[in-house]
Amino acid sequence: MSIDQALAKTRGGFFGRLFGRGEEKLTAEWLDLLEEALLRADLSVSLVDPLMAQLRDLFTTGEVKSVEKALAAVRETLVAAVAGDVRLRGEGERPRVILVVGVNGSGKTTTAAKLAKRLKDSGERPLLAAADTFRAAATLQLERWAERVDVPVVSGKPDGDPAAVVFDAVNAANARGNTTVIADTAGRLHTKGQLMDELGKIVRVTGRARAGAPDEVLLVLDGTAGQNAIQQARQFTATAAVTGLVVTKLDGTAKGGAVFAIAHELKLPVKLLGVGEKADDLVPMDPTAFVNALLPMPR
């Protein structure tokens, strides 16, 4: 599924009502609708309020008169806010190590598997590490995925040390010539000190397996999440030095607007988007398409 197709599902309905009329004259009512659209997409009120205040000023002074111009201004602001380098770091490292982290149920295991598929399709030789030793059958879930996308996997014992699994996987990659290790970690709420400490340990031990690793720590954010996503990003960044974001579940009607505040505050690039349940449904972030899902072009 293409990113536009996937994100198109999130349009229509309310948002369709708003954006059928580009030539139209800007009105106060239209601005109210725009504000509603932004808030309903989970953009933080701390971003929306100043943005709308500016727009309303421009409207009052007559500097912006058409819906088209207003939309273009908002779109430009939003695209700039989430535009960043989508390339995965550690290109030349052998093996490159990518940790996949996040809260429970955000889609880490699925993302790890899809990412393995992407890298394999681009000619790499990825290795998956099943470092979620906590959740019942999480290892089995990743092993099933690994089979499906035909990528080898290194697993540990249930309730075993997750850091050891990553360590072993890096060594295994060295021995077998795998170019990238993708480690799936257990879901943890960012407020649980002990679990966050465990994650810190995984990061440190990874650095012992290969100096400078991990190259990329991807925080997986549920696209349906609200303002709590910001708190998640803060805490995970503090513990595990997150280097990029993955926004999942964008094939529903949620729009993942919470990432604007995260990109704004923590300067973290969104690198990948999860747009469906199939192995190919992980695509590089496209800021224009992402923003268009929020604010479609006027017809």
Partner: protein, 446 residues
């Protein structure tokens, strides 16, 4: 999880209370704050608008602008509006007149259905019932294995359906349960998007075939604005009877899930409060409203204490505490009991008036680290030192610090605090004996 919302509203109310009279501008400013606080808490925009409009209308209707107690009136109006939004008292789970009682769990991917299924089975068993878990998620890889593993941990039987006959198998397994001595059937279904027609048809069939007493939608407490839309879509296809608020042990403000209740009218029945399989509670909307507004939740605190704290130990400790015979051993035992009840900050927030105190404590991970430090220091003391802290001299302090991986300053701080606590408690003890210490209303005597 709802702290930040209450903090925000507390600030607004504090400012309002400081005014001799509420002007129209004050009211509008307070309403703007309420709007922002609710939006930041992920309360659905529609619900926010309605709530703000209701408050404005009632405030003007009650002529708060002319009243000298206007500020208090506004606070009460906001409080009542939020209580209405949350719904009233707890709604119990329905039970079939003749077994089996069938409970179907539904929800988006990753909302927490499988874990909730296992926790619910555990809860049912604690209530003396005999649950059967049915694994009907034939889509997510290893979802069935996950439920089987959890069932094993609990000692609850798990039966899986055939991928080709999901609805038929669920109905068959459910109706056969009583013959095997199981009176309650909990069905874990696949996560699905509300706009996925084929998947929605599948679960509608499961519900039609198994005629459940409860169809519970599992909602992620961290969900955003879309939660209302997806829940509305689920409700349109399934006769939802309740909501389960999953992952409510984080710091999410949970406004979305509360909006779901407000928009669909479906009550929140259960709330998931941790990773462990006993971390599920009956949801009490009225208590939650009080907590949101910083009024404490003494009832939940008492219940948790009753569940986790051994009554005899507690009484013994309270007596020792007041007579200043309290030792480091008692202190350690108390720490362990408090830990069982949940994070310290959470507990303090439940006590009326202490919400603001809890805010000054180190947050989540830091508090836990502090607590572990204290544990390590006490563990590094000898038996004699624990029983008689006055033994702890300079060289003992250095040994304890080295043994616990802390510094002498840390050890000093702990022994000093401990000494002060004993002194304070002794004073309170004599006050209590003289009958001058008022007992908190609603708190059972230790």
């Amino acid at each position: 999880m709802f702290e930040q919302l209450s903090d925000r509203l507390a600030g607004t109310f504090e400012r309002l209370r400081g005014r001799p009279r509420v002007t129209e501008a004050d009211l509008e400013e307070a309403l703007r704050d309420v709007r922002v606080a609710l939006l930041e808490a992920d309360v659905n925009l529609k619900v926010v608008r309605q709530l703000v409009a209701t408050v404005r209308e009632r405030a003007l209707g009650e002529r708060v602008l002319e009243s000298i107690t206007g500020a208090q009136q506004v606070v009460k109006i906001v409080h009542d509006a939020i209580v209405e939004m949350l719904g009233g008292a707890a709604t119990p789970l329905a039970r079939a007149e003749r077994p089996p009682t069938v409970i179907v769990l539904a929800g988006l991917q990753g909302s927490g259905k499988t874990t909730t299924a296992a926790k619910l089975a555990n809860l049912m068993r604690k209530q003396g019932r005999h649950p059967l878990l049915i694994a009907a998620d034939v889509h997510r890889p290893a979802a069935i294995d996950q439920l089987v593993t959890l069932g094993k941990q609990l000692g609850v039987p798990v039966r899986a359906v055939d991928p080709g006959r999901v609805a038929g198998d669920v109905a068959m397994l459910a109706s056969g349960a009583p013959a095997d001595g199981q009176d309650t059937v909990i069905v874990d279904t696949a996560g699905r998007l509300h706009i996925d027609e084929a998947m929605m048809a599948e679960i509608a069939e499961v519900v039609a075939a198994s005629k459940p007493q409860e169809v519970l939608l599992v909602v992620d407490a961290m969900a955003g604005q879309d939660a209302v839309d997806s829940a509305t879509a689920f409700h349109a296809r399934l006769p939802l009877t309740g909501l389960v608020l999953a992952k409510a042990d984080g710091d999410a403000r949970g406004g979305a899930s509360l909006s779901v209740r407000a928009v669909t009218g479906v009550p929140v029945k259960l709330i998931g409060t941790g990773e462990k399989l006993d971390a599920i509670e009956i949801f009490h909307p009225d208590r939650l409203a009080q907590r949101i507004l910083g009024m404490g939740d003494i009832l939940t605190l008492v219940e948790r204490a009753q569940e986790h704290v051994d009554q005899k130990t507690a009484e013994e400790q309270a007596r020792k505490l007041l007579e200043a015979q309290f030792t480091f051993d008692d202190f350690y035992a108390q720490l362990q009991q408090v830990k069982k009840m949940g994070p310290l900050g959470d507990l303090l927030k439940m006590i009326p008036g202490l919400g603001q105190v809890a805010k000054q404590l180190p947050e989540g991970p830091e508090a836990e680290r502090e607590m572990r430090k204290v544990e390590a220091i006490i563990s590094s003391m000898t038996k004699a030192e624990r029983a008689d802290p006055s033994l702890i001299n300079g060289s003992r302090r250095r040994r304890i610090a080295a043994g616990s991986g802390t510094t002498v300053a840390d050890v000093n701080q702990l022994t000093k605090q401990f000494g002060e606590m004993r002194k304070l408690m002794k004073q309170m003890g004599s006050l209590a004996k003289s009958g001058r210490l008022p007992r908190l209303p609603g708190v059972p005597r230790m």
